[in-house]
Subunit: 382 residues, 2 copies
């Protein structure tokens, strides 16, 4: 793993989650860090989101403190107080200003942070800080995730980018939270981050929010230790985007109960807005998702999903391809149903829809809908 | 069953569906009927929808011809020709103009109507016409429905209203079709129907289209034999609405895999538009639906669903009630979780959300999301 210079990681178990699982993680920046963040647009915002939105405006950021098990959402004034208390206590031990630590939480909505369990563990959390612990940190932020999500890259000039995320994709991640942290040692002024991060998120994490569902806690932070000068900005920007895209795809791959990953590509649309609407309608249709799960080449469901958006197009002109194999043209099945059915058995699928209305394309990644999703979500708390 | 005067019903099996099931149904009006219709807004419209939209403008309607098994959607020119041919052949045998018969279809999208199987059965279909066959008719229009849906009422002055529907509710009905036919012997001029029907549909069938999913074939026809004079219009209108509402609720009750019926009530909204958005967000949230299925009082999911609509409200002011029992107030659980959990075991649930932002209310009926839904939809064609 390529860990950027200037970062230390730690994780402990406070007993918020059951069975002694890791549930508190810290990323510490050993230098004068700069940061930015992108947050959920949900009207119901968790306490750490409310605080984080303010704290990213501070000139220096020294770390990110994350707990899992409790989302600290719908917790009112008391929730804000507790999140604040947790930040200030941890900062005190770290010897930094409490304004230099960014918060994030994920877990059950409505429960207060059990500070009586968390605060006594802070000294241990800090004592464990090490550049070798990103994996432990990534485990501490998991909820229904079945594997930790880490991606790292290095530019030709040796700038490192490390991404850590949590989220078990499907519709909205269970308990609705997607967290991602992107760390680098490349020097990036705050103003540059403000432009870069939304652009990256739009092309990565936003292309997997498959049904427009939004959590109370969704947060993406980017944080630099500023220890290395970036000469090739373009190369750096591209690698940041790659890290974010790979993390996003790992989230879909870990989609609750998912048995297949499906890329939905819309081509030949009149505008990005329309193409996005169409891609989302197909990606979010339970009938399309269950047909993919059942490996049933039921193309009518795809057309019906496209049609419900009220985007204007000529249904008869629509062409559909599966993994590059021509499927539907002029309402006719081009290749035998058995060919498509066989192709549908693959784990990775690409559904291409050509509209022939214009020149704009858009793509989304989603997964299928299985009985397992129902089981996970019906029994999450019991 | 209260069958309105002037109507005859029939059904036969043409072999479109498997195992000799009834798949062609006819309603015949023995008098000078008037009609109106409301159709799917899906951009992809089935052939019978395209024809039906024109035919309801005719001054006289003598009947409704419906097949199940094949939707005749995404079938192009050939599909229109076949639908037209079916209407003209049936009209010929009935001795009426082909413009006096309304069409509807439900089933697989993309397949052509197998006229070679259907046309030879028309004489038998007509020979079987009887005022005693509404049940047979209702069976002939079923697809994944587990029971036929019939409701009948009579006004104080003896005007009868009979409603017959199909649809197995859930998200969009499987293969996406909801059909409903409302028949009456009360005299109603076409212009009156044009005003009445959209109003009724808005308050009945549109309050169960829980995720905005729309089929290629959705159709509601209203047809009168005009044999009885209506004196109390208000009473008549109310009973028509009741018939439609009861049919809509029967569709939800037959929701694919549904184990519970849930009424979602939003109170205290600033506008109907906002209240509707909020109700739909809750009703369509897979996380809320699976929590109800799992009888898990996970109220955070309800607030998160409300919040994702971007309708402005104060989350902390929101009050939530289940079957009248206070549940959430100021982000606090009012009654013990065990009380709510016990209540959730009931089959019929009412979730009331008070926003305290205004005076407008809106309600929707939905069902939970279960493994059975996935099974039905993953295996529909295989």
């Amino acid at each position: 793993m390529l860990v950027p210079e200037g970062f230390l990681f730690s994780a402990v178990s406070c007993g918020i989650k059951k069975e002694g699982k890791l549930d508190l993680g810290l990323i510490f920046c050993n230098a004068e860090g700069t940061s930015w963040g992108v947050f959920t647009k949900n009207v119901v915002k968790a306490a750490p989101v409310i605080l984080g939105k303010k704290l990213i405006k501070e000139p220096i950021t020294k770390g990110i403190l994350v707990n899992s098990g409790v989302a600290n959402a719908c917790t009112g004034e008391e929730g804000l107080k507790r999140a604040q208390k947790l930040l200030s206590e941890t900062s005190k031990f770290l010897g930094i200003s409490e304004k230099q630590l960014l918060p994030a939480s994920t877990g059950i909505i409505g429960d207060q942070l059990p500070l009586e369990k968390i605060l006594p563990k802070i000294p241990e959390l800090i004592a464990n800080l090490s550049s070798e612990n990103p994996l432990l940190f990534s485990q501490a932020i998991m909820t229904t995730d079945t594997f930790p999500k880490i991606v790292s890259k290095e530019t030709k000039e040796g700038i490192r980018i490390l991404g850590i995320a949590k989220g078990a994709g499907m519709i909205a991640p269970n308990m609705a939270t997607m967290l991602a942290f992107i760390l680098t040692d490349g020097e990036v002024p705050k103003n540059q981050f403000k432009k870069l991060l939304p652009k990256i998120v739009d092309q990565s994490f936003n292309t997997i929010t498959v049904d427009g569902d939004m959590s109370t806690n969704d947060t993406v932070y980017i944080l630099s230790s500023n220890l290395k000068n970036i000469k090739n900005w373009k190369n750096f920007e591209n690698l940041c985007l790659e890290v974010a895209k790979e993390l996003a795809h790992l989230i879909v791959r870990d989609g609750e109960g998912a048995s297949k990953i499906i890329k939905i590509k819309i081509k030949g649309s009149k505008s990005k807005k329309e193409a996005k609407k169409l891609a989302q309608a197909v990606a979010n249709s339970p009938l399309v998702k269950t047909a993919f799960y059942g490996e049933d080449p039921n193309w009518g469901r795809i057309l019906a999903a496209l049609g419900k958006t009220e985007v204007r197009f000529d249904p008869e002109k629509v062409e559909i391809y599966l993994n590059g194999i021509p499927w539907i043209k002029n309402f006719k099945v081009i290749n035998k149903e058995s060919v498509i059915k066989e192709e549908m058995k693959k784990y990775k699928l690409e559904l291409l829809v050509k509209l022939k209305m214009g020149k704009v394309s858009y793509e989304l990644v989603t997964c299928d809908l299985t009985e397992e999703y129902i089981k996970i979500n019906a029994q999450y708390r019991s």
